[in-house]
Amino acid sequence: MEGAGVGERWRPPRGRHRLPPEVVARSQRNRLLEAAVRVVAAKGYGAMTVGDLTREAGVSRTTFYELFEDKEACFLAAYDNAVEALVRRVVAAYESAAAWPERAAAGLAALLDALAAEPALARLSLVDIGNAGPVAQRRYRAAIQRLTPLFEEGRDYAPGGRGLPANTSRMAIGGVTGLISDELLAGRAEQLPGLLSDVLFATLVPYIGPDAAAREVDRLKR
């Protein structure tokens, strides 16, 4: 009954017990969210059924429909959950450093490490999300935009920052996600941390140009 990978997680005892219903529901919901990530990674969103989710999470069909309207709702909740955790990690790393180039480097390193640690989730989040339709794609774009502050501080740091286009942070994000997607499409998620110099350069370059960006990347590498 237990799906792979969930065995070590705590689960409420079966049968009659005195756990408050909201605690049971939260545990069942979390198991379904984790199941959704694994099932989509294994067989793709299109082929995933509600039956796969309930089997993998060890919950009944009735419970599933008490918690989610359909598989799309469950998947989107799982996606939000995963992205939320990822963004929190990146922001925490970013805020641990003082000045912008260091802050950007810390945030990007955390991003690459997190994606490399969970290749299936990485591919799902950045590359395969389109399979789940336009709603999911809009969530993806919204999630990416949450990282905007990590880039936008470059405007204060850059000498002519005020004169840069309003879209500069989106350009930097596009450069970074382009490099990451290229690695993920080639099946090299584990090697993402080795991309740090390049994604850092892509982040700095629209703000301070190639010369200064290359210098900063060199300095931060040491």
Binding site: P134, P165, R170
Partner: protein
């Protein structure tokens, strides 16, 4: 009676239109044969299923976009000029044909891993045009994949516009797109100057 090859072309054109209008998931073979005005038998004579037909239609779209860029950039112009012309070509093609644009950039993501790979291959083929820009950066040690950074920045901006249904307004974004494309090579000062020239002209 149209020849077999012509009917194949009609089906591919219809696929691009219907997917751009309804979305890949919502598109059925029935929609495509109705749009193309061919029979179901004809469709299945040429393609196994909707997915195979979409991939062939996608190749057609890519050749059309690349063909237009190559035709307009003759290689005689200076690099900066060539980049501006190439980008303008893509943006105008998308603005004139929002259905094609949506199929090419947004809906392709819903059509499976092989379709997404085709999209990215097309982006990298287009970005090869950028590589000559490296000469402008002198003998500096720059990352090898400047072209992917530029391509990622430009396609991210275009994707956002198309996702929110603003294909017609893409030409207004041209100065920003030009900045995004040039800045890894020439820096923000020179890229801003090009952006202003594009906005003025």
């Amino acid at each position: 009676m149209a020849g077999s090859e012509t009917r194949r072309q009609l089906i591919l054109e219809a696929m691009v239109r219907v997917v751009g209008r309804k979305g890949y998931k919502e598109t059925s073979v029935a929609d495509v044969i109705e749009e193309a005005n061919v029979s179901r038998t004809t469709f299945y004579k040429h393609f196994d299923d909707k997915h195979e037909c979409f991939l062939a239609a996608y190749d057609l779209v890519v050749e059309r976009v690349l063909g237009a860029v190559i035709a307009n950039c003759d290689g005689e112009q200076p690099w900066l000029e060539r980049m501006r012309v190439g980008l303008t070509t893509v943006v105008e093609l998308f603005a004139l044909d929002p259905e094609l644009a949506r199929t090419a950039i947004v809906e392709v993501a819903a059509a499976g891993a092989d379709a997404r790979q085709r999209h990215w291959n097309a982006v990298t083929r287009l970005s090869e045009f950028l590589e000559a820009g490296r000469e402008l950066s002198g003998d500096r040690e720059l990352p090898e994949n400047l072209d992917l950074m530029a391509a990622g920045a430009v396609s991210g901006l275009i994707f956002d516009e198309l996702l929110t249904g603003r294909a017609e307004r893409l030409p207004e974004l041209l100065p920003d797109l030009l900045f995004a494309m040039l800045v890894p090579y020439v820096g923000p000062g020179a890229a801003t100057a090009e952006m202003r020239r594009a906005a003025a002209g």
